[in-house]
Symmetry: none
Subunit: 206 residues, 4 copies
């Protein structure tokens, strides 16, 4: 009854500690997966005691779900920003770069998401089926419209979106592999250039 999560007005300490916990959990979950992570690791990382963690969250699963929920919003934001009235190619390239930037700036989030989907999205299916599906359908319609107007070379819009996700998130999710193969190179700059070339060539109307 007197637990933080049910209180009406979270105090400053509560907000700070919840943030600490979620940040620590993001670290741990993204690195070891849900089952591989332990509350002990999260508690140590957060600088709190284990029971104190459970004062703020109902359990391990609760922390994970909270993270996933928060993630979805940020994850979909760039897609929402595609402007149907903008220049098609420019809009798409902007999206690609946004996604690539996110891979660099938020690799933990990317890996958390990848982990979840890789395991069949047991805790995320609802989100995918509602928020995501709708947004993708809308975006696909926009792209199809552009194509119909002859402003973009014809392609399957959904697979186009998949390819953007795949190629950009790859740099976060498969970082361990990329690092081994690209020792010393400026991966991100080259990737940005490469993807710009890729999508320009594929989508330009000649």
């Amino acid at each position: 009854m007197t637990q933080a999560r049910t209180a009406k007005k979270p105090t400053r300490i509560q907000l700070r500690n919840r943030k600490r916990i979620l940040d620590a959990a993001l670290d741990v979950f993204s690195q070891h997966g849900f089952r591989g992570a332990t509350l002990d690791q999260i508690a140590t990382q957060a600088g709190l005691s284990k029971p104190n963690i459970l004062y703020y969250f109902e359990g391990k699963e609760d922390i994970h779900v909270t993270l996933l929920n928060q993630l979805m919003d940020a994850w979909l934001a760039p897609l929402r920003e595609i402007d149907p009235k903008g220049d098609p190619l420019r809009e798409i390239l902007r999206y690609v770069h946004r996604k690539l930037d996110m891979s660099r700036e938020f690799p933990r989030e990317s890996r958390l998401f990848a982990n979840e989907v890789l395991q069949g999205a047991p805790r995320m299916r609802p989100h995918l089926e509602t928020g995501l599906k709708e947004l993708v359908d809308d975006t696909a319609a926009v792209i199809d419209g552009w194509i119909a107007q002859g402003r973009l070379a014809p392609v399957d819009p959904r697979h186009l979106i998949f390819s953007i996700w795949a190629t950009t998130q790859h740099y976060a999710d498969f970082d361990a592999q990329v690092q081994v193969l690209m020792e010393g190179r400026d991966v991100h700059r080259d990737a940005a250039e490469f993807l710009e070339t890729l999508y320009t060539r594929m989508l330009s109307v000649r």
Copy 2:
């Protein structure tokens, strides 16, 4: 030790049971990750008792490593088959299709690999640093050669390879998401067509 794994000549039963175990383990590991998987699950799936599993393998880790080792060979095979003397675009398209086919036929292997790399490749680093790195360097050289000869549009060969991995494996690794968004469609056929278009447009010399 009087255990199967140290015997010199594997009997028929041994071969059969080792295969059963590895197959069951592939199921379980690819779905739940290393830490999330339990020997109990593997044993049940394999139709063997838990101690019997340990009669054939030294432990959970041994099974996982065996799986990973077997995987690497199959994983690299398609890359090896790129023929420096073949037609550049055709060779690359063939590679793309091979990889896409593997995503459809061996999604568990793809996810096992993704899981491992996602967590920093703790058990695979050596493989990546030797076998894979060398092969990628060689292939990059071949592609660079083609580009120098004007037979392929200029592009960073390593990022090209990454993009092929990313776009093809995506259909296995993010299948849960793809299924939600592509309900009812023939994902594989469309993906093949899309990727053919993508790489043709990007790499053709006009």
Copy 3:
């Protein structure tokens, strides 16, 4: 980690429970040896749950090592108390009686030690090589000095020390056998007298 063993300031409960565990473990280890002892036995004996034991110690080995470390100090104390300025024979007889008393009062400690050395002292070698060796060398020098001064009959001082250890610890370590052969007799009183005679006759200068 939020475990007791890493806490900085042991609470009263911690001290009490650690003591309980060590006492129970001394019972069990001294009777069954390291491998023969189980955490279950120790837990039952200590009146605690098995995981609770592991809340206080890192594992079975940790308990054993802690016991051995504590033992060494008490074990060497009597030897340290030999006074180079005292009367040689009296000093040695005092040592013999101290050791014999310890066999009676701390038979579990004696057996724990015997068990460890019997198996090659895998966990005690370091202690033996540093603390013990030095102390024995020093004591041997003292005894040699006494002999050189003609205050003690000549003997090899190290073998003298061995014989004292052997004859006194025998009453603890081989108690099962002694009891069978000495039914009803006051073993300790007779042993004290016997050893007094033995060492007096051997070491007196006529």
Copy 4:
């Protein structure tokens, strides 16, 4: 029914294999204790398969008991050889040297015995209570007789026997400790001389 241990006429192979097993078991039991030893170790050491071991013996315990039984005879032999009609001091010194020699030649047997008695002699009590007790009583009577005749300095005969056991077996049972403290010295020769001195001084009638 057709098991080796119930067969009437053991073949040569049977005898050889039983010997092999017992020898291997002596190694392993004396080093790790009963609980610390595994059938796997014994089997490997003996060069036989684990089930084959169990063809020759009913189980781990059976092997152990067999060893212990065999041991007792050899163990008591020297004591039996004390000749009541011989010279008292010479007889006892001869016994001391025999025992010391056995410590050097059969340290495994000594440790096996020590292990057993240390743990309360759960499998040996009967032997101790019959064979040993009787023999010790007889020997004590002989010694008492010698003392009464003034041919040996007065001393408690049972504790004398204990001291001989303790001092001689010490070199086998506590070998790990002795080695640390006597690096490089000829332990056995010095021990023989020391014990000769000890018992001569203690028992000589002046």
